[in-house]
Symmetry: C2
Subunit: 343 residues, 2 copies
């Protein structure tokens, strides 16, 4: 194949915030799949807070990205050529495809997806993002109808889905997001009961007013001061779903945990639990079917924020940490030849 | 009754550390029980880290102690006079009897105890202390034979029992305590596998060496920097039993939580859970029987640190936070007329 493969190379670990200069653009010949491998044309790359965590030299749930690597990324694309049983050209596959036009990788490391849905949905609400919201609330938080649920980074990829799942399960849902525009969007478009702006000078008192008689489940995507502000409102036997720590990912040094957490944990018998969606892989099909059925029934609107073009990848990752996105942020690297069905 | 009732009155909330001058000694006539009440002669008062938490104006699992109150305390004594069905003179009862010679209180607020055991054991290993260790490890931490368990404040009342329960359940047990003398006592007398001195300049590296391949359960009695030091050693799916936060109780302001907890919680899927032993009251009889059987079998040695005399109560509470005790700290206020059997 004479076509070029554009790649973004991870040059060096950031110290603190991600900046565009830690990436370098390169062009390589498109690779050829070996035995058991597939060649995939990448269509959408998912930009996620976890991308920052992968840049630290310590392993997370996967090995870290190393200087010189093509930047790691969950992504979705179509098989161009296959030398693996069970895969053929045109198949939609999702996996760690990276920031590039073409990935060559063992078929065993990707997941074949259902072509009935759009690629945007497969990568977002029906992928890691939606599954994270689903398992975080239902398996870790164990929400019950009538409970009050607070969600931070509520306008983000996971937060928008989590809030709507909590609503359709009969909970009262309070979103925390940055800025009046995002807050209005959460209540007017996505059905959150209340949205509180953490950038407002009156944030703490607005949160206190919003939570009313207390919080049963706090779905934490951010850690830090926002987490700290929620702690006094947690009810006895409250649950903290430790989904992410957006405010910590960019720190060069580990930050102190929220004030008052330990005393509250003992006195209120709180349970704080972390999870990784990969741990629930055995039941992903059921979760995906649930999520798809809620979308079809009009109960779940999956907001997708698609940015265009390979060249925009580094800038959009920087923007993710500045909160520029509403809903699931992804970059379209290449367009599919065949039209994808919506659903 | 013409006898006097000595009392220690809680005068004012401490700002930071407990000091003796927040208490005032007083003598009052001994009270008379009303209908449904009992008059109890207090024999032993339990000194517990939680005493400090009760002094803050926010309710914990019980209402706070208010300036002017007789200082609250778990204690054990014998009924002198009863106007309540089911209670008679000589019965051993445990409850919130307070720092005084005689308590008058509704019989419904105390618990009648089995006279087969000594009062020291009933108040310690067979009371709140032992039950806290028991439920913390077995119900919250869910220890499994072969796992590595780390216990902070290991030479304290709960820690000494928790370490021995973890041992008899087949775990490898590492205690964290202050000073070489306490550490030697833990390994030589109580069977801990290793004890690490948090006052040692090499604490962190000694801890790293002691934990070997990682920690399955951390039984946290202290919070703060010791908790922080354990976090990097927790295994994936590690559990943190949030039993107490000794280092936080004396703080005037809430302290920051341990660094790195939130990131570790997500990446390692940690579960941190608080509990209060009162929540398990339905199965206390079974737990007490287990604990008593382990003592009889020689598998559990309950160390008791008895200080003598009503006058020493304030000073010994101050000492508790300076780590002067080994094992369960209690003050003998009055001696029983009849000899208690050991067991």
């Amino acid at each position: 194949m004479s076509e070029k493969n554009r790649q973004w190379i991870f040059l060096k670990r950031p110290h603190g915030l991600v900046t565009e200069d830690i990436f370098e653009r390169r062009e390589e010949p498109v690779g050829e799949p070996g035995e058991g491998e597939i060649l995939v044309k990448v269509e959408f790359a998912s930009l996620d807070p976890a991308n920052r965590a992968w840049m630290e030299p310590v392993p997370t749930y996967k090995p870290p990205v190393m200087p010189g690597d093509v930047m790691h990324s969950f992504a979705i694309g179509r098989v161009v050529r296959s030398r693996a049983d069970g895969y053929e050209a045109g198949d939609i596959v999702e996996g760690m495809l990276g920031w590039q036009d073409y990935a060559v990788l063992p078929a065993s490391t990707v997941r074949k997806r259902n072509p009935r849905h759009s690629l945007e949905h497969l990568l977002g609400v029906l992928g890691i993002t939606g599954l994270t919201a689903y398992y975080g609330l239902l398996e870790v938080g164990r929400i019950v109808a009538g409970e009050t649920v607070v969600i931070s980074a509520a306008a983000g990829a996971v937060g928008t889905i989590a809030g709507q799942i909590a609503k359709l399960k009969g909970c009262r849902v309070i979103g925390i997001a940055g800025g009046a525009r995002k807050c209005a969007w959460l209540t007017e478009e996505l059905g959150f009961d209340v949205a509180v702006d953490y950038k407002s000078p009156g944030f703490k008192s607005e949160l206190a007013k919003a939570v009313g008689s207390g919080v049963h489940v706090y779905f934490d995507n951010v850690g830090g001061e926002i987490f700290e502000a929620v702690i006094p409102h947690l009810n006895t036997y409250g649950r903290i779903v430790a989904c992410g720590t957006l405010t910590n990912y960019n720190d060069a040094e580990p930050q102190p945990g929220p004030r008052g957490l330990q005393v509250a944990c003992v006195v209120k018998r709180l349970r704080m639990e972390g999870f990784i969606v990969l741990d629930f892989a055995a039941t992903w099909d059921k979760a995906e079917a649930d999520l798809a059925s809620w979308i079809e029934a009009g109960l779940l609107k999956p907001p997708v924020d698609v940015r265009e073009g390979f060249e925009t990848l580094p800038g959009n990752l920087v923007g993710l940490f500045n909160g520029t996105n509403k809903g699931k942020l992804m970059v379209r690297i290449n367009s599919s030849s065949g039209p994808a069905q919506q659903g």
